[in-house]
């Protein structure tokens, strides 16, 4: 319930500020991985195609570039009755699903992707919920367990518990740049003995909240572990377009698995997730995601299909967003120059934000931040003075939650406390989105620095 406390307080403060313009400041909300709400503009070509598909009248003039109109025409032709208001096939419009499979194949250096293994859903969490539902038997005794990273994206752990499952945390090693160490996987699995029946291993790469990008070797270790211990591998890869570290490269679990060859490539059961919410598109509000299922039992696939049929289908515009994400304008297309400019702008913005966040946080006494290799967030460690920890105790909130409440009330910046994600006992963190406009990032860092310096002084 404490999470609701912070959210409620945030709404309260936003309302107060709106009414009284306290300190002439507006609340900056960087608590979600939501680039567009933080000032990042949507890609023009995406929105133009969506507008033309919504209101085809727009295609009767030159208001929109030719390639946009052609794309819209093609997409509408792939819809029943030529309308985005129709239901689609359960897994998504078949031509779009096919194109997504082609994207995956190309992304993965030729490792083939089969369209019939792909399901589009209203956001990746929706698809993840469905797969978890198949894995987690709420009536089982002992309960079904899923290994999850610590820190972890809380909605996933919430989903697992909501389905009657148990989370088995494996700690990421902060001092080693949040590295996933296989020994830790072993320890976590051992700890589950007698407590639950672990069936799956959930990994997030690039990470959330911690901004790591796994190396190929690390991923091979994970795959070998999953294979050896007979665990279903759930790979949350929604931040695959968000790679900042110069030496970092995103490799998909599918690709690493395929390139390991048999027996692993033929046997390890894998579900990988992607989304239109993050990366360059940042279309969180459209709710578009997909899951690719690899090496699953055909009978289980039939059950999974039936589960997806209950939801009818993903919103059509979301399916379009995924199509556009996986098939952007190419050089020579009329939309390409603007698209290219917008992408470059986002890249420059991210490079700036990553550099500034890293240097500012590490320059502040009481903060330390691991290198931001990927993802959409900074998850710096907070070294809170004992007096602050004491005060938090008196207020009956977690210390980093106390810090966040103060930060909101005094500096008008909304971030998330580390305790929501899980962290090593006695450590504290905050998480904030770094996929914001440069101005917003500078403002956040400026306010955070002032606040932090004062806070550390007040509680020294």
């Amino acid at each position: 319930m404490e999470k609701l406390v912070l959210a409620r307080r945030a709404s309260q403060i936003k309302e107060e500020l709106r009414q009284r313009m306290r300190n002439h400041k507006q609340v900056i909300d960087v608590s979600w991985g939501d680039p567009q709400s933080a000032g990042v503009k949507p890609l023009s070509f995406v929105r133009q195609v969506l507008a033309a598909c919504l209101y085809p009248d727009l295609m009767n003039s030159n208001t929109l570039p030719l390639d946009i109109r052609q794309r819209a025409q093609r997409l509408l032709g792939e819809c029943a009755g030529g309308s985005v208001g129709s239901y689609t096939a359960t897994a998504g419009i078949s031509e779009i699903v096919y194109r997504i499979s082609e994207f995956i194949t190309k992304r993965d250096g030729g490792a083939p992707s089969q369209p019939e293994n792909i399901y589009i859903s209203p956001g990746s969490q929706w698809a993840l919920s469905n797969i978890l539902k198949v894995l987690v038997n709420s009536e089982a005794s002992p309960r079904t367990g899923v290994l999850t990273p610590e820190p972890c994206y809380p909605l996933t752990t919430f989903s697992i518990k909501g389905l009657g499952g148990v989370t088995v945390p494996y700690h990421l090693s902060e001092e080693q740049g949040w590295e996933l160490q296989v020994e830790e996987l072993h320890r976590a699995l051992d700890s589950a003995r007698g407590v639950c029946n672990p069936v799956a291993l959930y990994v997030i790469n690039p990470g959330n909240p911690a901004g790591y990008v796994q190396s190929r070797k690390s991923m091979q270790d994970v795959i070998r572990f999953a294979s050896e211990k007979r665990l279903f591998l759930l790979a949350d890869e929604v931040y695959q377009e968000c790679v900042h570290g110069e030496k970092s490269e995103f490799l998909s679990y599918k690709r690493v698995l395929a390139e390991m060859g048999p027996p692993h490539s033929d046997t390890v059961e894998l579900a990988s997730f992607h989304s239109a919410s993050k990366g360059f598109l940042g279309e969180c509000g459209l709710r578009g995601g997909y899951v690719e299922l690899v090496n699953l039992d055909p009978d289980v696939m039939k059950c999974i299909h039936k589960l997806f049929t209950i939801d009818s289908c993903a919103p059509v515009l979301s399916q379009f967003a995924l199509d556009l994400m996986t098939n952007p304008p190419q050089p020579g297309d009329p939309s390409y120059p603007l698209y290219s400019k917008e992408i470059q702008h986002i890249k420059t913005m991210m490079a700036h934000n990553v550099k500034r966040v890293f240097e500012v946080l590490n320059s502040l006494l009481g903060f330390s931040c691991q290198p931001l290799e990927g993802g959409a967030f900074a998850f710096p460690r907070l070294y809170l003075p004992p007096k602050a920890i004491q005060k938090a105790k008196e207020m009956e909130v977690e210390p980093d939650m106390f810090y966040c409440i103060r930060l909101l009330e005094e500096a008008g910046v909304l971030v998330k406390p580390g305790w929501e994600y899980g962290q090593k006992e006695g450590t504290h963190h905050i998480r904030f989105c770094i996929m914001t406009s440069e101005d917003t990032m500078e403002e956040v860092l400026s306010r955070l620095s002032s606040f932090h310096t004062q806070f550390m002084k007040d509680f020294s």
Binding site: S37, G81, S83, R287, V300, P315
Partner: protein, 491 residues
Amino acid sequence: MSTQAVNGSVSRGKVLTLDTMNPNVKKVEYAVRGAIVQRALQIEKELKEGVKKPFTEVIKANIGDAHAMGQKPITFLRQVLALCSYPALLEDNKFPEDAKQRARRILAACGGHSIGAYSASQGIECIRQDVSRYIEKRDGGIPSNPDNIYLSTGASDAIVTMLKLLVCGEGHDRTGVMISIPQYPLYSAALADLAAVQISYYLDEDKCWSLDVTELKRAVTAARQHCNPRVLCIINPGNPTGQVQSRQCIEDVIRFAKEEHLFVMADEVYQDNVYAEGCKFHSFKKVLFEMGPEYSSTVEMASFHSTSKCYMGECGFRGGYMEVINMDPEVKAQLTKLVSVRLCPPVTGQALLDLVVNPPQPDEPSYSMFMKERTEVLAALAEKARLTEKTFNTVPGIICNPVQGAMYTFPRITLPQKCIDTAKEEGLAPDMFYCMRLLEEEGICLVPGSGFGQREGTFHFRMTILPPTEKLKDVLQKIRDFHVRFTKQFS
């Protein structure tokens, strides 16, 4: 790299098998997108590949998808949504001012002024306020609190969420959920998935599918032997049956729910789809409040609406909402937490819903075209409802109740014993056998009554009344001819 990498033809025991998976999921069936639809898709593929068939297209009269059958979207709705998607169009004078004004208002309520930002999990606040105002206006002024409105990814999402919240207990104490027979199979699928106990109550086919409280009483009393009945689901106007419940009936149901201490789930997604003379949509909430405080302050209820049906037919947007009434505040807090798992409903669906509850007013430029389009759609549906009932009732062996509302007809078909026996041999329900034959011979895809539930020994099919009038006439004739042929063949 192995080319067999895809569905594991290597014989190593899989981690996830039918034996190790969640057993509840195995019981999930959703007939509307079930086996017959798979076959229809296969046939469409074959047609595309040039395979010769007795028909040139498959008519998918299995699913309540108006646009797929050629119904045109409402201009105003699409204009506003286009403006919301690509706000540069706000400078384009091809768009009317009232559309622009609504787009600006919606965008102002979005993070970063963009429909691409997450919204609050419960839905954008000003849209929930608009939904409340719509409900108040619809229900003659009975107050609606925006805090009790939850926007959702289609009504189905809200229905499943509510059921999740309501289903608990073990063994004898397991939640029992009352649902009509016939019913929309989302309910049976969700109940199977949640391992809830389904308590079936039969609608009376001879009385135009009306609901009789004595039948409700029978069902709940029997159910108390083995479960804990806590929920009563009712679809009004009905799916697949199309019946529009009378006000008296709704009052009786509410009284029954209070006596038996049941949570009422009122699925009202077809509330604008009422065609028959003498029939009127009465919202459960309105009737509840007009029954006075003894009921209105005690009966717990959730009503559901959607952007997929009515005159909009915008299934592909997945827009909807539910209004919860008299919900315990602590439970409501849990509900709010539960909906946060999916982050938020699609913002485009929320925007669409806003326009549905806030349509052009008489003094606005888009009003006349909006009303013209809306009236045309509903009038066409009413005409097709009449045509369908009339045509089917000319066929010996088909009895069709009046299509009072919604979008479907659920006629009863007489099947010869030989058909029933043959179907049994093939392991199919007799009406599935019938529908499969119809699909193969005429390219018409319907859903067999067995997918919705029906009285033992009776057979039905559900057909949508959505194809354009001329095509519908053709479909009706083909089904008539098929039925006569089929009956002869199997006599």
